[in-house]
C-alpha cells in the first residue's frame, strides 16, 4: 500500500501543493487531476523517490520511501514527460534484455531494429511505455502516458494497465486525456 501523509511540495520558495494525504491499495488506481502547474508531475516524482518532499511522509507498506531510495526505485515503473529514448540506438537496444517479447506485446515488433530517431513521436512514447513491461515493479507512476498515442495504442495500453492491476499492482497517473482506467479514484488538486 502506498500512503501519502501530509506531503508538502515547494518550488523554490513558492508553495506548489499541500499538505495532501491519500492512500492507494494493491490493485487500485488513482488519477491525478488538476490544471497545468498544479503539481501533478512534482507529486509523481516525489512518489518515485526522485525528489524530496518539503514536509510529510510517503510510505510503501509502512516503510518510508526515503530510507532506501535505491530499493524504492526498483519498485517503481516511472514514465515521465521525456521518453528516455536514445535516438542513436535501435528500438530493441533502447529496451535491453527481453526487448523482443515486450515489443511484440505492444505491436512495435516491426520497428524493433530501426534506430529510434526514425520513430514518430507516438511510437517513441509507446517504446517508453514498453519499459513498464520489462521491469517487475508494483508501482506505476505515469505522467501523461498516452500523449501522442493513437486510439488502438491507447486501448492496448488499457489492457496493460488492467493486467498490471489484476496482478496486484498500483497505478497512479496524471493526465488530461481520457485514460482507460476502470474504477480509478480521482485526486483533485484544488
Amino acid at each position: 500500500m502506498l500512503k501519502v501523509d501530509r506531503v508538502v511540495a515547494f518550488r523554490g520558495d513558492r508553495l506548489v501543493f499541500g499538505p495532501i494525504s491519500f492512500e492507494v491499495a494493491k490493485g487500485n488506481a488513482l488519477l491525478l487531476v488538476g490544471p497545468n502547474g498544479s503539481g501533478k508531475s512534482t507529486l509523481l516524482r516525489l512518489l518515485a523517490g526522485l525528489g524530496r518532499a518539503e514536509a510529510g511522509h510517503i510510505t510503501w507498506n509502512g516503510e518510508d520511501t526515503l530510507t532506501d531510495r535505491t530499493a524504492h526505485g526498483a519498485r517503481v515503473g516511472y514514465i515521465g514527460h521525456q521518453d528516455a529514448v536514445k535516438p542513436g540506438l535501435t528500438a530493441s537496444e533502447n529496451l535491453g534484455a527481453g526487448a523482443e517479447a515486450a515489443l511484440s506485446a505492444v505491436g512495435l515488433q516491426r520497428v524493433a531494429e530501426l534506430p529510434a530517431r526514425m520513430l514518430s513521436a507516438g511510437q517513441k512514447r509507446r517504446l517508453a511505455l514498453t519499459r513498464l513491461l520489462l521491469k517487475p515493479a508494483p508501482i506505476w507512476l505515469l505522467d501523461e502516458p498516452t500523449l501522442g498515442l493513437d486510439t488502438a495504442s491507447v486501448a492496448r495500453f488499457g489492457t496493460m494497465l488492467a493486467a498490471h492491476r489484476a496482478g496486484g499492482g498500483i497505478v497512479i497517473a496524471a493526465t488530461h486525456l481520457p485514460l482507460p482506467l476502470q474504477g480509478a479514484a480521482e485526486f483533485s488538486f484544488a
Binding site: 514527460h81 528516455a84 536514445k86
Partner: protein, 220 residues
C-alpha cells in the same frame, strides 16, 4: 537494468557517435603536434618538454567529452530511469566513469606512445610515461565524472566544469611528470608512481560516492 547493460549501452552509443568519440583523441594528437611548430623542432628542447606537453594535452582532451557524460542522460530522461533501476547511484556513476575511461582514457593511453616519439622524447623513458598515464587517465575519468555530475543542471555547466576539475587534477599532473623526470635523471620513478596509485586508491571509492549524490540532487 544490470550494470553490464548500462555499460554496454554507453559503449554502443559511443561507437554509433564515432565522431564525438574520435574528437578527444584527435584533439590530443593535434594539440601535441602544434608544439614542435610553436617551440621549434630542436630535439633537446622538445624532448625535455615532451612529458609535460603530453600530460597537459591528455588532461585537456579528457575534459572534452565530459559535459555529455551525464548531460545527454539528464536531458532525455534516461537519468531518472537509471536512478530507478535499483542500482545505487554511486555504482551508476562508477560505471559511467569506466565508460569514459574506455572511450577516452584508453585511446589516449595508446596514442601517447607514438606522440611521445613524435615529440623526440627519450624512448627509454616512455614506459614510465605510460605507467604514469595508466592511473592518471583513470583519475581523470573519476574526477571528471564527479565534476560532470556536480555541474549537471547548472546554467553554465560547460564553463564551470573545467574550473572544477582542473584544480583537482593538479597533483596527478605533478606526480605524472615528476616520474618521467626522475627516470630521465637516472633516479627511480617508483615513489611518484606509487603516489599516483595512492591517489587512485583514494579516488576509486570517494569520487563515485560524491558523483552519486550529485546525480541524486540533480534529479531533485
Amino acid at each position: 537494468m544490470t550494470l553490464g547493460e548500462i555499460l554496454g549501452r554507453d559503449l554502443r552509443l559511443s561507437l554509433r557517435h564515432g565522431s564525438d568519440t574520435l574528437a578527444a583523441l584527435l584533439f590530443f594528437v593535434l594539440t601535441a603536434a602544434l608544439f614542435p611548430l610553436a617551440i621549434g623542432p630542436a630535439p633537446e628542447t622538445l624532448g625535455r618538454l615532451a612529458p609535460g606537453i603530453i600530460w597537459v594535452c591528455a588532461l585537456l582532451a579528457a575534459l572534452l567529452p565530459l559535459d555529455r557524460l551525464f548531460g545527454a542522460d539528464f536531458e532525455d530522461g534516461t537519468l531518472d530511469q537509471l536512478l530507478l533501476s535499483g542500482q545505487p547511484p554511486a555504482v551508476i556513476a562508477a560505471i559511467k566513469a569506466l565508460a569514459h575511461w574506455l572511450v577516452t582514457g584508453l585511446p589516449l593511453l595508446i596514442a601517447a606512445g607514438p606522440v611521445a616519439l613524435m615529440l623526440q622524447m627519450d624512448p627509454t623513458t616512455i614506459p614510465v610515461l605510460l605507467a604514469g598515464l595508466l592511473p592518471g587517465t583513470l583519475l581523470l575519468s573519476l574526477f571528471g565524472a564527479t565534476g560532470a555530475a556536480l555541474v549537471l543542471g547548472a546554467r553554465r555547466g560547460g564553463v564551470l566544469l573545467p574550473l572544477l576539475v582542473l584544480p583537482l587534477t593538479a597533483p596527478v599532473l605533478i606526480f605524472g611528470v615528476a616520474a618521467v623526470e626522475a627516470e630521465a635523471a637516472g633516479q627511480s620513478p617508483q615513489a611518484h608512481l606509487l603516489l599516483l596509485a595512492a591517489l587512485l586508491a583514494a579516488a576509486l571509492p570517494l569520487c563515485p560516492l560524491a558523483a552519486g549524490s550529485a546525480l541524486r540532487s540533480a534529479a531533485e
